[in-house]
Amino acid sequence: MAKWGMVIDLDKCTGCQACTTACSMENNTLPGENWQDVLYYHEGQYPSAQMKWLPRPCMQCESPSCVHVCPTRATYKDMDAGGIVFVDWNKCIGCKYCMIACPYGVRFYADEKPLLEPDLRDIFPGEGGQVWSPPYQNPEEDWRRGIGIQPKGVVSKCTFCYHRVSKAPPGTPDLDEDNPDLKEYVPACVRTCPPKARFFGDLDNPSSEVNRLIGDKHGVRLLDHTGNRPQVYYLGAGAGVPAFTPKTKS
């Protein structure tokens, strides 16, 4: 079985948020429920001030702290699904401990005050257990893997678009959106990336492009000191998270 990994080249990324938009359209997430996001950081001061940005999907960690803390095994790492970390919405009790334990802030509890008014949950009230039911939605749904529109009172997160990835022919080393035979299996954020800054492939396959990029271009994992060992690697200058400095103190 593959071990799916993502490589994000920060020297190519323009911070355009197309990935974030594609993700929310693919997965019908609510505003603020950003399974994929681009985070912007300021670092330093004039004359050496920098602006940097980091696209952030779920890191699908090799040693995921969210999985270790979940009291019901609702969140689990599925080695038969490429090592993707899923949330089983039938088992999640909404204790939110996984959100506490995830160092990357990739988990969302949609049962909260709306980020934007008017509340889309009032405009498209939920049907069939969904927290909201927009008129156009991805027909793919698998609550055991947290795919689709979530029900109330559970935690949701990026699934590496498993509903697409899982249909790829077994043994495929890389899911490249430029390959017409494979493009339908590529995660939405990777497929849509205009400067082709994102790559998706099998970390267990020695001949995969993602492995070559990580090796040749010095791929790093963010916040690596937490020991979670992400399956998402970053290339290029700026692959690091600056220390937290509050706006009011900077």
Binding site: R73, K91, C95, A101, D111, K113, G153, V155, T226
Partner: protein, 389 residues
């Protein structure tokens, strides 16, 4: 030891139980009213967010559950460690520990997305890696043992081998519960404000402090805020032994709390230093330090003052306020620095509990008080074995 029990002079009918019941019903009523938005909007009625996931209900749960542990410690002084001076309040403390634990469970359950699913999903999936799992296991076991122990005490079984075994089991499970509750936070290395293997020590000492404060408060309340209706033995306990233990625990907590603040301010680590500075700049911190710790400590140090019930009551109320603020600072503090959010959250996360959050806490406390009031009628909470008169 004789199994013959004596009835001491606790007023079981009349003013105090009725007042307790009244306060309980008011708390339940106001609690339900304030948490009505929860029924209409779900957890949108809370001010917690995906970035600050654990708010006031969790704070209240930790406060109440650890107070339950503290009360179990106080009652164990007599029933496990054979310090007979403590028999006169042992049963009351035990029942209060049950009531506060249930109050805490209610607060926590109403905070969950699916409280009923928890009932089957946790036992059927046995995630033994999760500290939350063990915390639930130990507190549930403790609750069962406490109820069994109380049933045995009702049958005047103060020191039969079964009663002693259940007493030891109660003590051990309450301690393990508090320790795993501490590890729920203490093991989170990604949240430096929480992290540390000595969090269990801090939780146990503060649990003992809040247990002694609750024991003081409720014993004096049950006896009309004075010692006139107490047996000589209970009077001795409540005016001599108890305030000294109260002072010693408060002094210990004061040292630990000040050490924690100084460490926090000294540190360069933003997650620790910024959060500590944020709290030190808040008036609540000073309420906690000066009113919640220093003032009661001074009051309890004075031999003339600490024998007076009114001074002890004042100290107990102030200490409980201080401990509650401390719990709030600890639990909310670990979440104030946004984790990997960039400029979307450029400052410490702002959080003020909503009315609905206060409502479910009040509802839980009201149910706890109701359970306690029922115990005042049904059980002789001042009971003690004959040789402990």
């Amino acid at each position: 030891m004789s199994n013959e029990a004596v009835m001491q002079d606790a007023p079981r009918d009349g003013g105090v139980p009725i007042l307790t019941l009244l306060v309980a019903l008011i708390a339940i009523g106001v609690g339900i009213y304030a948490s009505l938005p929860l029924l209409a909007e779900g957890h949108s009625a809370f001010n917690t967010t995906s970035n600050l996931a654990w708010g006031l209900p969790v704070v209240a749960y930790v406060f109440l559950a650890l107070s339950s542990t503290g009360l179990a410690m106080v009652s164990s002084l007599a029933m496990v460690f054979g310090w007979k001076d403590f028999y006169p309040i042992a049963k009351r403390c035990l029942w209060l520990a049950v009531a506060l634990l249930i109050a805490g469970f209610i607060s926590l359950a109403l905070e969950l997305g699916h409280p009923f699913r928890m009932l089957w999903a946790i036992p059927l999936n046995l995630q033994v890696q999760s500290p939350l799992f063990w915390m639930g296991v130990w507190y549930l076991i403790a609750l069962v043992f406490m109820v069994v122990k109380l049933a045995l005490l009702q049958k005047e079984e103060w020191s039969t081998s079964a009663s002693r075994t259940v007493g030891i089991a109660t003590f051990v499970s309450e301690i393990l519960a508090a320790v795993t509750l501490a590890l729920v936070f203490g093991m989170m290395a990604m949240r430096p404000y929480w992290y540390g293997s000595f969090v269990p020590v801090y939780f146990l000492v503060t649990a003992a402090l809040s247990g002694v404060a609750f024991a003081t408060l409720f014993t004096f309340f049950a006896h009309g805020l004075g010692t006139s209706s107490m047996s000589p033995r209970m009077t001795h306990l409540m005016t001599e032994t108890m305030p000294k233990i109260f002072a010693a625990l408060l002094g210990t907590v004061l040292v630990l709390a000040v050490a924690r603040v100084i460490t926090g301010l000294w540190s360069n680590q933003p997650e620790i230093a910024l959060v500590t500075r944020h709290f030190v700049d808040s008036p609540w911190f000073h309420v906690q330090l000066w009113l919640g710790m220093v003032l009661p400590f001074i009051l309890l140090l004075s031999p003339k003052l600490r024998v007076q019930p009114i001074i002890q009551l004042l100290a107990a109320v102030l200490v409980l306020l201080g401990v509650f603020i401390g719990r709030y600072e600890y639990i909310v503090g670990g979440q104030l620095v946004p984790l990997f959010k960039g400029t979307w959250y450029p400052d410490l996360i702002a959080y003020t509990p909503s009315m609905a959050e206060w409502g479910i806490v009040l509802f839980g406390v009201g149910i706890g008080l109701l359970i306690y009031a029922i115990g005042m009628w049904m059980f002789r909470l001042d009971d003690a074995p004959a040789d402990a008169r």
